[in-house]
Symmetry: none
Subunit: 128 residues, 4 copies
Amino acid sequence: MMKYEFDNNVPIYLQIIEEIKNKIVAGVLAPGQQLDSVRAMAAKFEVNPNTIQRALSELEQQHLVYSQRTRGRFVTEDTRMIKVLRHKMAVSEIKNAVERLKLLGFDSDEIEQIFRESLEEDISKSDH
Amino acid sequence: MMKYEFDNNVPIYLQIIEEIKNKIVAGVLAPGQQLDSVRAMAAKFEVNPNTIQRALSELEQQHLVYSQRTRGRFVTEDTRMIKVLRHKMAVSEIKNAVERLKLLGFDSDEIEQIFRESLEEDISKSDH
Amino acid sequence: MMKYEFDNNVPIYLQIIEEIKNKIVAGVLAPGQQLDSVRAMAAKFEVNPNTIQRALSELEQQHLVYSQRTRGRFVTEDTRMIKVLRHKMAVSEIKNAVERLKLLGFDSDEIEQIFRESLEEDISKSDH
Amino acid sequence: MMKYEFDNNVPIYLQIIEEIKNKIVAGVLAPGQQLDSVRAMAAKFEVNPNTIQRALSELEQQHLVYSQRTRGRFVTEDTRMIKVLRHKMAVSEIKNAVERLKLLGFDSDEIEQIFRESLEEDISKSDH
DNA sequence: GTGGTCTAGACCACT
DNA sequence: GTGGTCTAGACCACC
């Protein structure tokens, strides 16, 4: 058997980044909307303010949020950026799934067929 | 401040079940092949033997492994069962991905299109 | 008169980033060469290790250095990246000078003429 | 740990001299115009009056300002002096930039080419 | 020994 | 009150 390895060594700040990205892509955080303050988020996540700061400045470097020194932080108003992010996240989600299936010995044709089945079921579900 | 638990509340025994299922489906553990002993697995996973015990009996209930009192535990020789499992795992993998994307606001058409792109890239990659 | 403002509020970690970029561009740090460890640099700059860490991880995000967990950090071996950086730094150096001169009321023609004089003097200097 | 001083060892009085020269060259301070009093400037720069005194007498030695015992200090009316200063500042600005680039390993040809690019961009910008 | 993450707590500038 | 920077000191995984 293989080496033992249970997940969850993902750094907190990365998890927070993902959390916020999800909300931006899903529209829960709208373009231009103000984020909670560093200290407020630190309290909510029960985490040190520095950890939040790190997550947020990383998001800033990716141009997904911007900050105004004394006013606070805001979701980018550049909807193009958000669309790009949205697409990237979808691609990576799907690629990961495909990747894992290939490791289990599935080939592209099989994966495509199963994917097709999944979508069809979905459609019939939404017909109810 | 205390640590906030983000993910990782999946019980260990479920993670172990997944691990073993993966090996069976991928063929790393062949039909009829003997599994490591409970104590050996407990050592490898650095986990209490009871946890292993629980995982294995669950797999027995699902007829994916069977035990012979004195000899040990073995992967099922029923290849049909394995095929079914294989298919189920693929479906659930893909459904999960689709599900997460729908939560992010994607509709079926978008997902299909991105899926198509992913596969095409894969093909062009393997052409190199 | 204008607002009072003496320079030097530039964060230490940004100054360190510049320092290292300079060395990379000038070739003092060659592609693939190992950098001092975080702790060593912290001692050299008389600064907290976290500050060094921050500078270096920023450089890593810019793909100018890469790190290997247990071995240390290294200058990128991608000489293209270094060339790009080199060019960017030159452009920004010159743009800054031009910018400051424009604030002093110089127009492009004047600036070009003075620039030409500077270069000629330089050449005659290197003739000696 | 103590703080390491990176830049900012330029004496304050020199910074103030530069500030005033900039204003004179840019025309913010016109020929013959009266300067603020020492005390007023000391307040504005949040600096000891002696520091201002020193900066101003240096400027007097360079014939860029002159003082009338009881009335105060004034910008020189010798526009030729100002033109010379203006030129000198431009030259030194550019020479500094060139100098720094040479330290980074650029040769004159490269610098000229990049300078040319910068100016062209500037022109195309003003065309918009 | 290496890099990486996190906390606790401080100080700054800006409004 | 906001974000931003920095220190001091801790712990982890990896080899």
